[in-house]
Amino acid sequence: MKYIRQMAIILSVTCVAEILKYFIPLPIPASIYGLVLMFLLLLTGLVKLPQVKETAEFLVEIMTIMFIPATVGLMENWDVLQPILLPLIVIIPVTTILVMGVTGRTAQWFLRKKEKQK
């Protein structure tokens, strides 16, 4: 029964998120509304951690393989990528490395500054 209840809560929150997405015309996907909604439900105690824990952890753990089908779909989009292939070969790695490095360093700088103040 535990898993049925957990699955029911997770899918209900997802469903409400999809309804929100329908009524709020922003370029924000249902999954993000759902993530925020689930977080608020946990924060307010309306949903308790044990009511979703195991099933949520299972889904998060197997999340990697859920990206495989969409990415394999790139083989279909190859012709649209081709005209800007050269810029992309530069832009994708450079911006990804920069964003990761700069975000991480900024966070680390703030964290260490705070630690020193203590």
């Binding site: 393989i65 810029p87 911006t95 490395i97 964003v99 975000t103 360093r105 900024t106």
Partner: protein
Amino acid sequence: MNNLILSSTTFGVVISVFGFIIGMELKKRFKTALFNPLLIAILLVIAVLKLCHIDYSNYNASAKYLSYWLTPATVCLAVPLYAQIEKLRQNLVAILCALTVGALTSLVSVLILASLFRLSHQEYVTLLPKSVTSAIGMGISEELGGYSSVTVAVIILSGIFGNVSGDLVCRVFRITEPIAKGLGMGAASHAIGTVRAMEWGELEGAMSSLAIVVSGLLTVIGASFFAKLL
């Protein structure tokens, strides 16, 4: 062959999962970032489809049942995030500042590189949301008049690149704090990077999940301004 595959409701899922397991075994044996299980799974599945002349649509007829779980799984990212609520409260300012700087870095670097490569306005706005999660990025791209299918492809490639290179980038930039590593990964490589951050640790994973949401929302606001600049 294609009809046979089309009649199966599990074929796509089975080859995807086995591709991933082979990837995990290779990684265990060779211990290098290049043997990324996700990357290997994708390449193996593409190789199988090409070699057996199977159309993507026939593969996806069953593989879509894997994709189906992406929305509920993303909703579940709230759970590891909630488990780290104390760390989140204590470091709220640092986290928000880092993610704002990160989102700006993404937009500015795309602007500079796009003008260096003399990309058209339409190509530029296609690339603007490249660091955010695909569903948000696709929406932004459509809104600004970009090619949304290219945007999705570029977003996925950025995710894979970050997932594979994350360890090296953190080493080179000497990022060692778990919170900082997680935020960097999530800001640059959204959900695909987050699965790698989860392997680093619970705190890294939670921060990466948080970065997906916050960076996504900041980019919704920021991209509409940056779109006017080229």
